[in-house]
Symmetry: C2
Subunit: 381 residues, 2 copies
């Protein structure tokens, strides 16, 4: 059995049934691709499978398909390849996933690009969102994507206009790895306006599809494709999404898979963020910086720093020191007795905090009166 | 013991210690206000209390304070009044609250305005946020506040510039009830630029403070005041807040009190929303519409409607109908066999869905070819 015969069998099988087809996947796993293809062509198969392949059993374009693939430097990725993302695809063992329409792993994947799919899946995050993105959404998508790609996280998305495109482009812009998962054949650039973008992704990242060459994207294929985006990503980040959005579908896949669902907030006045806010109300993790995504998809210990808090001259003061400090007027000065009344503290208890504040350079005494020192040194953190 | 003597005693006691002063509150609860005031002036009290009142024991401006209060049509609200929000103040029994600095209920409250404090607390929501609000934040604060006030929810806030002011003004604008909780005397309009706003609130809502007349606001009094904002509100909604913000302090009080903490999201690029996003990451409830707040502070059953989902012509189609529908081209027509190949279904299984789609007016047949009907009727929900 030649390598070519095996490849031709996989290519034929990839087209003979609409993916995913668990009956076909199981048949191929049992007989091997070459034997399975021969049996199907001979009509020797269980009746359940016969129904699924009936419409396309006579179509065998494997040779042309593989020639196209070779010409473009692509490859078929099968479960027999070390690159097959076995670990990531264990999510398809999940009952929640299997209950959903198309909730099975693909049988084989068509791919073009230097990135290894198993490595992508081990450290990947999906950045997805609406085609009707706002300038804000595209800006944030690009910012998150560049931040991930710079830290060697693969940015997985669907190559659509809007958020997806902004995410892919930003990853390319920092020479990072980005992966486009298509809902049609890898030789069918979709949307057509992203042909050049997909070409660039083929050069440095990965364009991947479970559909054979020439297959055109269709609505149900986008929904089916979305499960692959979620499965190949440790976290799915929805940047902008309307109330009805494919990105929400990808998030639902991620949730069923037990993967972390994230959403970027936006103005509540923006319809493009409404879907994100619904996700956040349902428990999605709020994302405002790339570090917060890396904390999820990265190695243990890659924790995001706390955002920097602005400092004020009152940081680090004790309660008594603060009461005394605040009892001093903005301009001018006060006596010990006046400070005591204002602070509501006995005069003798005012002295200690005043002395400490003086040592710290926050207040000064002049002729028995106390005043605030402006531009006092900032306290050590 | 005349009513006037009791009022004068409360007024004196309100100033003699910095509020809240649990030692004084307990002493007054034990002896009654008149006897407590007399004992304090005579120096007959526990030493713990003596320290707390030492600086101000000699100050008795009760008559002038009450004269000012009467002139403005105000009142003292004490635990003996039916208006005292006993139920709301049970949050001060909470250990988490008592552990915090100033985590005790006020002894007495100075108030001006027709709204009853107990009714406010039974159906109130705090709308708070940064003084450095953006146009977006002020817009959302006003929108939420008006929506609450129109549905008879009292809008509680702190009368500051920015979010607080926008919330108060919007409630006034729909003839609703709004409550300003001050960090100084009710005769000390703060900020000064909100004098007219506070005057309007006195006319239809409530201006309230635990501090005696003339007391100027100070930083620690804002922090102390914030606990009252939270206590008087079934939910605390932070509309915009920087990373370091008084509103975050109010939210911390609400959390310690077991009250619902809410935050409005905004652009992640906006520093004015950064504090809200931190709260949301920590579990605050995301708010995008007034209805979502009413669901929390309103009566059981006042549930927010789900946001409206846009409809598409494919709503309500079965999986098979969708596959068949999608197998038809955008323009032109296809034969049964072509549809079967595209959909990956046996030709005989394509007929049933096609017939149903035809009945529904979604597709039509002409000379053995099938095509999509544009502008098909919308499906019933």
């Amino acid at each position: 059995m030649t390598v070519d015969a095996v490849r031709r069998a996989w290519a034929y099988l990839s087209r003979v049934a609409e993916s995913p087809c668990p009956a076909l996947t199981a048949f191929v796993a049992g007989h091997g691709p070459v034997e399975a293809a021969a049996r199907i062509k001979a009509g020797a198969m269980p009746s359940e499978l016969a129904g699924r392949i009936a419409a396309r059993v006579h179509i065998d374009t494997a040779s042309e398909d593989l020639e196209m693939l070779d010409r473009r430097g692509g490859r078929l990725i099968t479960p027999d390849d070390t690159e097959w993302p076995h670990l990531a695809f264990t999510v398809f063992d999940n009952d929640e996933v299997q209950r959903r329409e198309s909730g099975r792993h693909p049988m084989v994947l068509w791919a073009i690009g230097p990135a290894r799919l198993d490595e992508v899946a081990a450290r990947g995050a999906a950045i997805v969102g609406t085609r009707a993105a706002t300038a804000y959404g595209e800006h944030v998508a690009a910012d998150l994507s560049a931040g991930l790609a710079e830290r060697n996280v693969a940015v997985v998305s669907g190559a659509a206009y809007g958020i997806d495109g902004a995410a892919h482009r930003a990853a390319l812009g920092v020479d990072g790895v980005t992966v486009a998962v298509l809902a049609g054949g890898i030789d069918v650039p979709y949307p057509a306006g992203h042909s050049a973008l997909l070409h660039r992704i083929c050069g440095t990242g990965l364009v991947v599809s479970e559909y054979p060459p020439g297959m055109r994207p269709a609505r149900h294929r986008f929904l089916t494709r979305n499960r692959l985006v979620a499965a190949l990503s440790g976290a799915t980040v929805v940047v902008e999404a309307g109330l009805r959005s494919g990105a929400a579908n990808t998030a639902a896949w991620a949730e069923a898979m037990g993967r972390v669902v994230c959403a970027v907030p936006g103005p509540v006045t923006s319809a493009a963020s409404a879907g994100c806010h619904v996700l956040l109300r349902r428990g999605a993790q709020l994302i405002s910086r790339p570090e917060e995504i890396i904390e999820i998809v990265g190695k243990i210990g890659e924790l995001a720093d706390d955002p920097e808090h602005p400092q004020t001259p009152l940081d680090g003061l004790s309660r008594e020191e603060m009461l005394v400090y605040e009892a001093l007027p903005g301009r001018g000065s006060r006596s010990i007795e006046e400070i005591a009344v204002e602070a509501g503290m006995p005069a003798e208890q005012v002295l200690g905090p005043l002395a400490l504040l003086e040592i710290a350079g926050r207040v000064q005494r002049r002729e028995g009166q106390w005043r605030i020192v402006r531009d006092a040194p900032q306290p050590a953190r």
